[in-house]
């Protein structure tokens, strides 16, 4: 049974692509067969975060238009045998993606025995975002603890509940999860940032993971290595926890409390 997971947010720059890449790698290294698809037509970026930008020959739109086979367009990851990337097209044609074409590609992946298909949504609520979520079984809504991101997430939750295949067919809707990124426990304690509980309360959904603000994230994207592979970084470990929870494991949240400073740091500042 193939599970289609959309990674979405409404607002841009909150960490959708970083999340898609890490979740895909996390599932693949647990032995799952995973495809991760970039839906951001015109602004392809997943390939960079995955570190396979120089191996893109054919893209998603080429497959939809029948200019190549799906097999030719899937880029096999160098680190995980069971992980494949489908890059977005750089075309400026907004109508390059259509529901029928996307549905066909997803069906072919299902027939190929993929366990999970991760759909990396573009920002906004336009066509690309609508198509990325349409076929989803599950949604990971990436949110920063910040007003505009939370508000946009709520709009996205509304769309997930009405403008998806599952909603239209009355198949029980899309399972929704929040993934809080750029979380900074120090600022939460100082009252400068909304807490996990605040965001959960406003949106009415539980978090599946909390990714702390971490230098590791930029370092990972610089290198083209999804941050989940950086076992030393807090963000990498937090993503691994989120993947475990996606697969039904229960794990306590980590890196969400303030690290207590020593007496010298308290007196002299940090």
């Amino acid at each position: 049974m193939t599970e289609i997971i959309v990674v979405t947010s409404g607002k841009g720059g909150v960490g959708k692509t970083t999340t898609s890449a890490s979740i895909a790698v996390g599932l693949a290294r647990r032995g799952k067969k995973v495809a991760v698809i970039d839906f951001d037509v015109g602004l392809r970026n997943l390939d960079l975060i995955m570190g396979c930008e120089r191996r893109v020959v054919y893209d998603f739109v080429n497959v939809i238009n029948g200019e190549c086979t799906l097999k030719q367009a899937l880029i096999k990851d160098k680190r995980c045998d069971t992980l494949f990337v489908l890059a977005a097209s750089q075309t400026r044609d907004k109508d390059a993606l259509n529901r029928e074409g996307v549905g066909k590609v997803l069906d072919e992946l299902k027939a190929d025995g993929f366990d999970h298909i991760i759909c990396d949504s573009p920002a906004g609520i336009e066509k690309g975002a609508a198509l990325a979520m349409y076929f989803a079984d599950r949604a990971i809504v990436v949110v920063n603890p910040e007003v505009s991101s939370v508000r946009d997430s709520d709009r996205i939750l509304g769309l997930l509940a009405s403008k998806t295949r599952r909603a239209e067919l009355g198949e029980g809707g899309v399972a929704q999860h929040l993934l809080l990124t750029r979380y900074n426990p120090n600022r939460v304690e100082a009252g400068d940032m909304m807490s996990i509980a605040d965001v959960q309360e406003i949106l009415g959904i539980e978090v599946i993971g909390v990714i702390p603000e971490s230098e590791g994230v930029l370092a990972a994207s610089n290198a083209g290595v999804p941050v989940i592979l950086d076992d030393a970084s807090n963000a990498g470990q937090a993503y691994d926890d989120a993947v475990a929870r996606l697969l039904g494991e229960s794990r306590p949240l980590r890196f969400v409390d303030v690290q207590k400073k020593g007496i010298f740091a308290r007196i002299f500042g940090s």
């Binding site: 709520d154 909304m194 605040d198 500042g269």
Partner: protein, 93 residues
């Protein structure tokens, strides 16, 4: 936090301000979600008709669609101005 920070006045808790603002706007946007697209036009046209007879305030017409099991109820509420005013307005017609 250094020792000097202890003497500064504590800044306002901005996170709780954010939470309160979000609570209101999200509730408002959720209420509007799923209501039919024609509601704003319906509201405007009803207002125009009422204005032919009574000079009501534009905010006096409230329209809501509520779901009650299988049924959808279109709720329409018009607050009329006070009697005295209404009488004076009668001349305008």
């Amino acid at each position: 936090m250094g020792i000097l920070d202890l003497f500064r006045s504590k800044p306002k808790n901005t996170a709780s301000v954010a939470k309160d603002r979000l609570r209101i706007i999200v509730a408002q946007e959720r209420a509007q979600r799923g209501s039919p697209d024609y509601l704003p036009t319906l509201r405007r046209e009803i207002l125009e008709v009422i204005k032919k007879y009574v000079n009501v305030d534009p905010d006096a017409v409230l329209i809501n669609v509520e779901r009650d099991g299988e049924h959808e109820v279109l709720e329409l509420s018009v607050t009329l101005p006070e009697r005295k005013q209404a009488g004076a307005d009668g001349d305008d017609d």
